[in-house]
């Protein structure tokens, strides 16, 4: 019998100490209170003023107690449900868990047949949803593109309408504004069986993106209001560039983006206390030569890990970023950049890690990258699971049994554990040279393409209810009607 014994369940990773986190949190409160943010939305400013904010023109300053009140009502743990009731597809947000999925809105897509870069089209949404549904380490779905072959105003509506029937994993939805948010919500509600049922088991999350530095745009705020009024879990995340739209120092950018995100927090919690809220955002550096927001920088991993710890310190989940790259093709750079950020995201326990499948600094979505990163996520998850230490795993008796110069291949202990202790890859090739050689010397990217095509061609996601199919058709018809006079 042991006493006073403490174990690590999984590995331990920490970027910031508690004291440092408190100091950064105080910095966030300072920014919100003393500098304030510009909020380009009249009604939002009214709501915020009602909650105790000081409003002058567009500038909104929020005192610390108002922020803290909102933090107190926002939950740390909750569930986003699979639309079909498949518990394996539910996402349980809470300490020590990280989840992964693609990202929204790149203009381009890598065609999985021709492997060429071209504008994102509607059928790509189907492919992305189908493949995400099948991948073992992808937990939620996002489109990886903005549909270019439908009416511009309906890109988001069509995106959701196309993806929703093709995956039962929760979708993170993106939209332009109120109308298409409503299209999306009606589809989700139809499947859930009504607004009340939806609120009990929300099956999607809404994504809103304000601006850095310290600007809440009309659309982003409008969508938060929509989400709060309809009980949709919400993400409020800026996309800041250290050295461009945020301080060049990691502590500075984390503080600024947190303040930007907290504007959405206060707004959403004021409208609907208890609404699940994800703090953002995408934190990376501006490459001072290429003038891009880099999606492959080591700073992204570092800053996102710091932001995750700050969010958790504040008691709310984080919208993480990883599995993305600045590479223009499926290559070694895409793999190493994506793998590093995925690994650090998993280590830090970012609650929803998105952009798995972003390439070319977010300009091109690639489901091939997602498929490749699925492997890196599985790999990272095995490491994060750590090492279990107990009498059975210490195996002193087994070592005694086998003895010097023996082997463990026949041992019962091996039979008991070899499947759970070891991770088995899908894409990493561990055959010896001769077998690999005989099979055509394929690099991993070839296997990625093969696997992607195979999944896209063969995977059958669980269908939506027939009523939902009908509802989707009606909702989209009404939407077309709504925009028919706009160019």
């Amino acid at each position: 019998m042991r006493a006073n014994y403490r174990v690590n369940s999984g590995v331990r990773f920490e970027v910031l100490s508690k004291d440092q986190l408190q100091e950064m949190f105080d910095g966030v409160l300072h920014v919100m209170d003393k500098i304030g943010l510009d909020v380009h939305h009249d009604r939002a400013r009214e709501i915020l003023a009602g909650a105790g904010a000081r409003v002058e023109g567009k500038r909104v300053q929020i005192p610390p107690h108002v922020v803290k009140r909102s933090l107190a009502t926002a939950p740390r743990s909750f569930t986003i449900y699979a639309r079909d009731g498949n518990p394996a597809h539910d996402i349980h947000i809470g300490p020590g868990r990280s989840h992964f999925g693609p990202g929204p809105t790149p203009p381009n897509f890598i065609d999985i047949e021709t492997l060429e870069r071209r504008p994102y089209v509607r059928d790509d949404a189907r492919i992305v949803a189908t493949v995400c549904d099948a991948l073992p380490n992808i937990d939620f779905c996002e489109s990886l593109g903005t549909i270019s072959d439908v009416h511009t105003d309906l890109a988001a509506s069509y995106e959701f309408a196309t993806m929703f029937p093709k995956t039962s994993k929760p979708i993170v939805a993106w939209s332009y504004g109120w109308d298409d948010s409503n299209d999306i919500h009606q589809i989700a509600v139809a499947e859930a069986g009504g607004q009340e049922a939806f609120e009990k088991r929300p099956n999607y999350v809404h994504y809103c993106e304000p601006l850095s530095p310290l600007v809440s745009t009309f659309e982003a705020v409008d969508k938060v209001i929509f989400a709060a009024e309809h009980g949709v879990p919400v993400i409020f995340t800026t996309c800041a560039l250290a050295g461009g739209t945020a301080p060049v120092t990691p502590a500075g950018i984390i503080i600024q983006t947190t303040a930007e995100s907290f504007m959405g927090l206060v707004l959403s919690q004021t409208i609907r206390p208890g609404l699940p809220f994800f703090m953002g955002g995408v934190l990376s550096v501006m490459d001072m030569s290429a003038m891009i927001l880099t999606y492959g920088a080591p700073e992204l991993s570092l800053m996102m890990a710091g932001a995750t710890e700050l969010a958790h310190y504040c008691g709310i989940p984080l919208w993480q970023t990883g599995g993305c790259t600045d590479s223009k093709c499926l290559d070694e750079q895409a793999s190493l950049e994506g793998s590093l950020s995925v690994f650090f995201s998993a280590l830090s326990g970012g609650d929803l890690c998105h952009d798995v499948g972003y390439t070319e600094s977010g300009m091109t979505g690639s489901i091939l990258q997602t498929v490749m990163m699925d492997e890196a996520i599985g790999y990272s998850r095995r490491i994060c699971r750590g090492i279990e230490v107990n009498e059975e795993t210490l195996a002193v008796d087994v070592i005694q049994d086998v003895g010097p110069d023996g082997h463990y291949l026949y041992h019962d202990h091996t039979m008991r554990h070899f499947k759970t202790e070891f991770w088995y890859p899908n894409l990493c090739d561990r055959r010896n040279f001769e077998e690999w050689d005989a099979d055509g010397q394929k690099p991993m990217r070839d296997r990625v393409v093969e696997r992607t095509r195979e999944i896209a061609a063969t995977h059958e996601p669980s269908p939506v209810r027939p009523e939902t199919e009908k509802a989707i058709a009606e909702i989209m018809e009404a939407a077309e009607e709504r925009v028919k006079d706009k160019s």
Partner: protein, 213 residues
């Protein structure tokens, strides 16, 4: 095919060591021919195991279990089987060569060869050339298999082959080699008859050498 033979095959696949022995005994008690039990039960099961392993549906520890069950069943049948080999695929003398203490690869090959129906004589690791020649004289194997994990100890394979030649035994046995740094080119250079690039292929090569006579 009778039900009991199917059960034996299933037992092999499941690596049920005791179960297979019991079933083989039962089949004998029921009056089945030993040769039938071997061909339509044990070997059928093991063939399936090989197939599943290649398809990544079975893992090495399971394959080794299956091999052991196969071996157990076969031992029961052996006295009843006709012919000088008594149902065996052949006899192998196996060892890790002199100077090399790594024997995990050699162990794997040995176990898989047993599963393939061979009688295996294991000389252990760090086995000098004369230990091999002695063993050939004593056990009269069909095949001598040598393993090495180090580039430096690979040369002991050459020395051993030479010793076998000098003892006038070279034409009595087939010689196969394997191990991480060994490749087909090297095997050819020292005059071995076969090369296995991993444990599974080692067992296959052994079978092919026997079939080729």
């Amino acid at each position: 095919m009778s039900q009991i033979l199917e059960q034996i095959a299933t037992g092999i696949i499941g690596g049920d060591i005791q179960g297979v022995e019991k079933l083989v005994q039962k089949a004998l008690d029921e009056g089945q021919e030993a040769e039938t039990i071997l061909q339509n039960g044990l070997i059928v099961g093991m063939a399936e195991v090989g197939k599943r392993f290649k398809a990544a549906q079975m893992f090495i520890p399971e394959v080794l279990r299956a091999a052991k069950s196969m071996h157990g069943g076969q031992e029961l049948l052996r006295p009843l089987l006709a012919g000088d080999k008594a149902g065996r695929a052949g006899k192998i003398v196996i060892g890790t060569v002199q100077g090399d203490l790594h024997d995990i690869g050699k162990n794997l090959v040995g176990m898989l060869c047993e599963g393939a129906g061979f009688e295996v004589v294991d000389l252990g690791f760090d086995a000098p050339p004369d230990k091999f020649t002695e063993a050939i004289k004593t056990h009269q194997p069909d095949i001598v298999a040598m393993s090495a994990l180090l580039t430096t100890t690979m040369r002991a394979m050459g020395y051993t082959l030479k010793a076998i030649e000098e003892a006038g035994l070279r034409d009595k046995v087939k010689v196969m080699v394997g191990g991480a740094p060994v490749d087909a080119e090297f095997a050819e250079r020292i005059g071995a008859d076969g090369y296995g690039h991993n444990a599974v292929s080692g067992a296959e090569v052994a079978r092919n050498l026997i079939e080729a006579g």
